[in-house]
């Protein structure tokens, strides 16, 4: 798995290098944006297919939803509390 992760990150860094090299060309940026959207659509479509054919997920969709909601509440509360301290200690103008 580690090699897969390294491959993915290396591909992203390669893209960043190419992006820096191409520079601020609005046309290219627009095309890249559209292609990015389409590859996201494709991946989520594939994820949908995977989930649809996976009986274990389909039979547990309600509990999966509840788990997602509980995790979101945790992430949000944690972030908000940390941000509150950062704000009062470093950003608030006295």
């Amino acid at each position: 798995m580690l090699t897969d992760i390294i491959i993915v990150l290396a591909i992203m860094i390669l893209g960043m290098g190419i992006g820096l090299f191409i520079g601020n060309r609005p046309k290219v940026i627009k095309i890249v944006g559209v292609l990015t959207s389409f590859s996201i659509f494709l991946l989520l479509f594939l994820l949908g297919i995977g989930v649809g054919t996976n009986d274990r997920i389909i039979n547990n969709l309600d509990t999966i939803g509840i788990q997602a909601l509980v995790l979101t509440i945790g992430a949000l509360l944690g972030s908000l509390i940390c941000a509150y301290f950062t704000y009062s200690l470093f950003f608030k103008k006295k």
């Binding site: 591909i11 191409i22 594939l46 989930v51 979101t72 972030s79 908000l80 950062t86």
Partner: protein, 201 residues
Amino acid sequence: MKGSLIILSFFVLGLILGLTRFLPDTLLEGDFSIYALYLLMFLVGIGIGTDRDSWKVIRQVNFKIVLVPLSVIVGSLIGVSAVSILLSSINFGEAMAVGAGFGYYSLSSVIITEFHSETLGVIALLSNIIREVITLLATPFFVRYFGKLAGIASGGATAMDTTMPIIVQYSGKEYAIIAVFSGIVLTVLVPVIVPLILEFL
């Protein structure tokens, strides 16, 4: 909001086709999604590389701005770890991988699906979409009770794009740069932190 609806509709379309087994078996196996992920990562990289404005923002700012994305990272990870105690089927590390999406639902869910499981991928997709939707709805409330960084913290990686308008509206224009900076840092870190957590969980 519109973007997440479009993405959800693609997911639902795939879901329906999968449920009805409407597609040929070779497509249903879904082994080539890793190549789609490679393509996406390459494009995300180019997107980051070409965006000169964001590099400029990063160079302009005072160092204490770094504390903002740091708060989001620390807060999200501690928060999800804490609530994972309530969830019997999700362990500590799995919860952290979901939390490390920081609202970037498309990329984090796909990475988690590839490197862990479809179940956790779906949880990450839903959780991070819920995060964006709640940010869009509740930022005025959050800002009132948790200070002016609250919308940025709640939005996470989306503070640079989809949730930025609402953040600027309720925290003020001077927070726009902080929102963009924090959003960029978190967006770049999602594909690094999520796989790392999955590797060591």
